[in-house]
């Protein structure tokens, strides 16, 4: 959603990313559905029990792919029709582009909300969909979608979570956010052995000679984390960033400079332009400084934090009609060419499509009505209003007002 300008992920975004050292700062957002930890979002206990009892895929009416604003509002529109949903997102938190690309940028074109930030929009949507008890599966991408003989879809994620669902709503925006890679020819062979783009278990890096590359919050926070006294203290920490200016929080930058002054870590201005290896092991990074001189920095492990960039990923392989990396839909139900699979928000295209959050919201409503016959084939679905319908008040969990 190109609604606002530059990329500048707010500090709090990384605070509860799955890879963040300070993950115990639980932002208000997460208090809606208490989580065990941001690393492993806790599933609804009922769902865990059901899954355990069946020892198989989670059976559900709807799976929503993407927890951006449109995916979240899809929960609402399905909820009004009494359709429960599971939501999957590659990020470790809800909000999609609103959180990842412009959490602090003001948005002015949400109807009836004169101004809100990406984070405020996400928080409001989470509050709005609270009554519907959707289950979130964060930190995983959908890898497989296959139609079964009974007409349902088998859905599997990168973490192995499996679903059997009657309908799918693809609200995947511009794709799943993935770490940006350090582009040095040949370096990729050390992926996940000595080159990492995320920290799953900090203890793995304790006692090692670390080179950390990047200038954002993740790079700085991990550098500080590994440089300080504690169970995960590294043997040495060298931070490399292309310039002596940082996107990271000023306090972190100040702390980093203090540690450098005390010889507890080092900071080098430069870019990684090559590497050295010995016996199949990565032994050093070639760093070209601002002076144009290339020096070799010895290391055991390289951690790269260049932020996240969205990639369409496996959606392209699900047999759906695609035009310019977008899914073609009709404008009656926002159905793709596969009946039962709907596409809403930035990921879809149709004549006159405009990539606006408000268009996505409209699409959610019609897609929910379009999906109802797949879930309740014998039920006549009536349009009802939240102002007046006692049935909707019940699903929303509110009292029906009495007017004299």
């Amino acid at each position: 959603m190109p609604k606002s300008g530059k990329t500048s992920p707010a500090n709090w975004t990384s605070l509860f990313a799955e890879t963040h050292p300070a993950a115990d700062y639980a932002p208000a957002l997460f208090k809606l559905k208490p989580e065990k930890s941001p690393m492993e979002p806790q599933l609804n206990q009922e769902v865990i029990n059901t899954a355990a009892a069946h020892d198989g895929p989670i059976e559900t009416d709807a799976v929503i792919v993407g927890a951006g604003p449109v995916g979240l509002f899809q929960v609402f529109e399905l909820g009004l029709l009494e359709i429960k949903a599971h939501v999957i997102d590659s990020l470790a938190y809800p909000g999609g582009q609103c959180i990842e690309l412009y959490p602090d940028k003001p948005i002015y074109d949400i109807p009836a909300v004169p101004m809100c930030t990406g984070k405020e929009l996400t928080d409001s949507l989470l509050k709005q969909i609270e009554p519907f008890g959707a289950t979130f599966h964060f930190g995983q991408e959908v890898s497989t979608v296959e139609r079964q003989d009974d007409g349902r879809f088998f859905v599997q994620t990168s973490k192995g979570t499996q679903f059997l669902t009657k309908t799918i709503f693809i609200a995947a925006g511009v794709g799943a956010f993935q770490p940006r890679l350090l582009k040095v020819d040949g370096l990729e062979k050390f992926d996940n052995t000595q080159l990492f783009y995320r920290v799953k278990s900090p203890a793995d890096f304790a006692g090692k000679n670390l080179v950390i590359v990047g200038g954002g919050d993740s790079a700085l926070d991990w550098a500080l984390n590994f440089a300080k006294e504690g169970p995960n203290k590294a043997e040495s920490v060298i931070l490399i960033h292309r310039r002596d200016g940082f996107k990271a929080a000023p306090a972190s930058v100040a702390k980093m400079k203090e540690l450098c002054d005390n010889y507890e870590m080092q900071f080098i201005v430069g870019q990684v332009t090559g590497y050295e290896e010995k016996d199949g092991k990565l032994t050093g990074a070639k760093v070209t400084g601002a002076d144009g001189v290339t020096r070799v920095v010895p290391l055991d492990v390289m951690l790269v934090f260049f932020g996240l960039s969205p990639k369409l990923g496996p959606i392209a392989e699900w047999g759906l009609d695609i035009e310019r990396k977008q899914l073609k839909v009709d404008t009656e139900k926002f159905s793709t060419n596969v009946p039962g699979i709907f596409a809403v928000g930035d990921i879809n295209t149709y004549p006159g499509k405009k990539k606006l959050i408000l268009s996505g919201f409209h699409e959610c409503a019609l897609a929910a009505f379009g999906a109802a016959p797949f879930i309740f084939p014998d039920k006549k679905i009536h349009l009802q209003y939240t102002t007046t319908s006692p049935k909707l008040h019940k699903v929303l969990g509110v009292e029906t007002p009495v007017f004299d």
Partner: protein, 109 residues
């Protein structure tokens, strides 16, 4: 798919485009900008920003400019081409060059 900076940018480099890019995918060379195709998310907001209409969606690149698709790929990863995220002054003689066509020979890689 991606967006592509074409010939009009050469020797002008107005840089209005970089301020609006949500993913910081512009790369700056001595006298032109390009878009890193691995980073561009096709949001298209840069297109109307460019005062010389240098930016096109990959499918819409005019026939005589298709060689710039490859040039954007190459130069976005070329040594010395750096990420640019904030607008700066255009090149001093941009006004003189903005309407010149066929200026590929002027490109400094």
């Amino acid at each position: 798919m991606t967006h592509i900076v074409t010939e009009s940018c050469i020797r002008c480099k107005y840089t209005d485009c970089v301020d609006v890019c949500p993913v910081d995918c512009f790369r700056e060379g001595p006298n032109m900008l390009v878009i890193d195709p691995d980073e561009c998310i096709d949001c298209a907001v840069c297109i109307p920003e460019c005062p010389v209409n240098a930016i096109y969606a990959e499918e819409d690149v005019p026939a005589d400019q298709v060689n710039f698709i490859k040039i954007n790929v190459e130069l976005s990863n070329a040594p010395g081409w750096k990420s640019i995220t904030k607008r700066k002054e255009a090149l001093p003689d941009a006004e003189e060059w903005k309407d010149v066509t066929s200026k590929l020979d002027q490109l400094i890689r």
